[in-house]
Amino acid sequence: MSGYLTQVSANLLISVILAYAAYVPLATGQLNIGVAGFMCVGAYASAVAAAVIGLPLFLCVIVGMLCASGAGLLVAISVARMHGIYYSLATFAFAEVVTAVLVNLDVVGGARGYVVVGYFGLNAITLAALLVVGGVAYMMSTRIGLAFTAVRNDERAAAIFGVKVFATKVLALVIGAALAGLAGSLYAHHYSYIEAQNFNFMLSANAVLFALLGGVQTWWGPLLGASAIALIPEFLRTSGEWRYIGFGAIMIVLMVLRPEGVLTRATTRRLAAITRRFAWGKA
């Protein structure tokens, strides 16, 4: 596979994992705009585990995910009772604190960045992305997924029907944080170099965009959103600097035309009906 194609694929697959990191909290109606902070925790924890402790690569990823979900648990317990803008701003502030602290930590290279030992090829990343998509799809089909949707649609009604709203929200943010940690760990060991400044707000914003643009009503919306956003600038590459402007414009227009995301439940039902009619027509 050519180098360019490998880079695009790795970028796409890590974007897909990030999309699900933003999607899981969104499925309960929590807008986490600090995904990059959790990703940063995962990346640095995994890199340190590889370099300092010398753990095998597989365990490094686990360490990265555990550290990120630990951070997620701390944040979730303190902010899950907040609503709307307060919640989002708290996750934003958390991410800024993480990068600001890591930039000042000379143990991990500070502002100069940190060279990562251990390398993940495209195969490992593909496997991880498949596991994430499959895992989230399965989870959304269980009672947990049902509880997530109930909390998103109406917290009070969900509580009346016996859903533990607080625990559900905490769980969603922790799972999201663990996925962000996984993405961070894969990123660190694929690119072999991390810099805290790169885990900035635009990265968090992108993760949220992946999920919201694809649609949060179905589990495959984020997959579509991440693929579209990661690939559209590549397809628009011929148009040079216009591509990001075009990308932003597409996003704005899409939000007006399809405010619930490209894929909604109604759309999937309609698609299913069309496919069925088509199948019968052939028979």
């Binding site: 807008l31 709307g84 307060y86 800024e96 604190v97 600001a100 000042n104 704005i252 007006v256």
Partner: protein, 291 residues
Amino acid sequence: MIEQQLINGLMLGSIYALVGVAFSLTIGMLNFLNFSVPGLFMLGGVLSYGLLKAGFHWSIAFVLTIAAITVVSLVIERFTYRWLRLSSPFIPLVSSIGFLIVLENSAIMRFGSESMRVPSPFKLTDLHLAGLFISAPQLLGLVIALVGAAIMSLMLKRTKLGRSIRGIAENPRTAETLGINVNRTVSSIYVITGIFAAVGGILFALNYQQVAWYMGQEVAAKGLAAMVLGGMGSLWGPVIGGFLVGLIEVFSIAYVSSDAVNAVVYGTLLALLLCWPNGLLGARISTVERM
């Protein structure tokens, strides 16, 4: 020189105050975290640079910049409010991030991705008071931030537009029933937000004599911190919060290290959100809670 640091902090804080007010207006009145504010701030700085460079007199350059920002704000209003009124609260936020991407990349296309040096447009004598150094643009910034907030506060209390804005903040549907022209009022909120952000950008360009496409991001994050510190949705809260953030920043550069600034500022912000979410002057919590 603790007095000099105090002055520098207040001057820097006035820019954060203007951006904080811009954020606070759309949150307080419309429950909407407007991420296009850093883009409008940047546009204010970069456009005035471009017009000055093109040879316009500074007064014309600034007026044209404000006019352009007004038009852009009205476009943003269409795409983040008017045509999205029935959607979930996340959606306007996504659109405003879309506008941020468009604005920043337009600036890159027109002016390149390097930071540019702004020529000083007018010769104002800097003040030397009892051994302290106060530059004229800094003083101008301080005055504009305070006067802008004062005018806004009077406008909200006394004028018809102010009453309409407060009515919409209370409840848009009731406001409409009572005969308030919601569309026009919301448009004016957007325009006022844009002007606050743009004036901040122009002052930044004058003070630091440097503009770049990314200049909005750092300042906007500090402006958000200022708004939360002072109380989300209020008017004087972000002003006071802006000065506090400016002081925290200047003093942590002077006495800790320049790298510690962000850790201190955002650490304070996170701690405040967790312990004291209403901020210092946050009496308007009810309007925010509705979201």
